[in-house]
Structures are given as structure tokens and as C-alpha cells.
């Protein structure tokens, strides 16, 4: 079980690295907004994995809060891009 969790951690870290590359190279602001949404989900998944590894309780509550409120940052970025265009 622990080996599986460590494998998941390595895979998620690689995924996070690839998303960071996309944030750095862009090229447009919308690309970065999309990649920031992805990196939020990646970091939450890493938290869940660490929570499973260290046997933290109530990781499901964290997932519930992030999935219901986490999209607000992307929404704000999208509004900003649309307002700049208008």
C-alpha cells in the first residue's frame, strides 16, 4: 500500500512539473489560467496522497471544500482576461 502511494506521489510530482512548464511558456494568459486550474487540482491530489500516507483524518472535507470553492480563482482570472479585452 505504501509503495502504491509513493508511486502516486512520484506521478503527481511529474504531472505538476509538466503543468509548471506550461505556466512558464504560456503563450497566452488563457493558457496560464487553464494551467493554474490544473495545478490547483494537482496540489490537492498531492495533499490527499500525503494525508493517506500519514493517515490524516478528514481529507474528504478538504476535497469537498476545494472542489466547491477552488474554481473561484480561475473564475477571477477569466473575468480579468475578458475585462481586459473589453
Amino acid at each position: 500500500m505504501t509503495a502504491v502511494l509513493y508511486t502516486g506521489l512520484v506521478m503527481m510530482t511529474l504531472a505538476g512539473g509538466a503543468v509548471m512548464v506550461r505556466i512558464i511558456i504560456g503563450p497566452s494568459e488563457s493558457d496560464r489560467a487553464a494551467a493554474s486550474d490544473m495545478i490547483l487540482a494537482t496540489i490537492v491530489a498531492l495533499f490527499v496522497l500525503i494525508g493517506l500516507l500519514l493517515e490524516f483524518p478528514s481529507m474528504l472535507d478538504l476535497l469537498l471544500i476545494v472542489s466547491s470553492a477552488g474554481f473561484l480563482s480561475t473564475l477571477a482570472l477569466v473575468r480579468l482576461i475578458l475585462r481586459d479585452e473589453q
Binding site: 486550474d37 472542489s67 466547491s68 475578458l82
Partner: protein
């Protein structure tokens, strides 16, 4: 033992979805493909991690929380994908050269 196996299975599934999604994010040619990749990867990936957490501690309260989290997550990831695509279209993001038809531009003209 079964519950532990299911947790591991969903952890590997979720990590794999995220890894494939991030590779797709790097390899996609335009923002519209990237939003599609992101909507799928975040919705399905976090859904898999929700299932892994439920099977780690299988109680009724956790099942209810997981159903709420799963449905909100699925709705939010697709809505965010559409919003980012819309903002990209409004800011005249370049389309891939493989795109043959732009029905939205034809509709507005």
C-alpha cells in the same frame, strides 16, 4: 484487504489521469485542446482520489460527502473548461492550423 486494494487502485488511476493530462497539456497545439484536456483531467482525476478516500474509510457519512464532492467536482471542472475557452476566444487566441471550421465566427458574421 479489499478496501486497501481499491484505495490503491483508485490512487494509481487518478495519478495516471493527471500525468496523461499534464502531458496532453504540454503537447496540445492550441488553448481549446488544452481546456478540453484540463476539464477531463481535473474532473476524472480528483474523482478517482475521492473514491480512493471513500474506500480508505468506508462509512455512510463519508459516502454522502464523497457523492457531493464528486458531483460538484464534475460540474465545476467542465464549467471552468468552457469559461477558459470562452475567454480565450474573446481574446482572439490562435487556433491550431488543423482547425477547418469556425462556426462561432460564421454565426457572428
Amino acid at each position: 484487504m479489499t478496501i486497501s486494494f481499491l484505495t490503491g487502485f483508485f490512487v494509481i488511476c487518478g495519478s495516471f489521469v493527471f500525468l496523461i493530462g499534464s502531458i496532453g497539456l504540454l503537447r496540445s497545439e492550441d488553448i481549446y485542446c488544452r481546456t478540453s484536456t484540463i476539464a477531463t483531467a481535473t474532473g476524472l482525476g480528483l474523482g478517482c482520489f475521492t473514491l480512493a478516500l471513500v474506500f480508505n474509510d468506508l462509512t455512510l457519512v463519508n459516502c454522502i460527502k464523497a457523492i457531493i464532492a464528486f458531483s460538484i467536482n464534475m460540474a465545476v471542472s467542465s464549467v471552468v473548461g468552457m469559461l477558459v475557452g470562452r475567454s480565450a476566444y474573446a481574446s482572439d487566441a490562435k487556433m491550431s492550423t488543423k482547425t477547418h471550421k469556425d462556426e462561432l465566427a460564421e454565426h457572428h458574421s
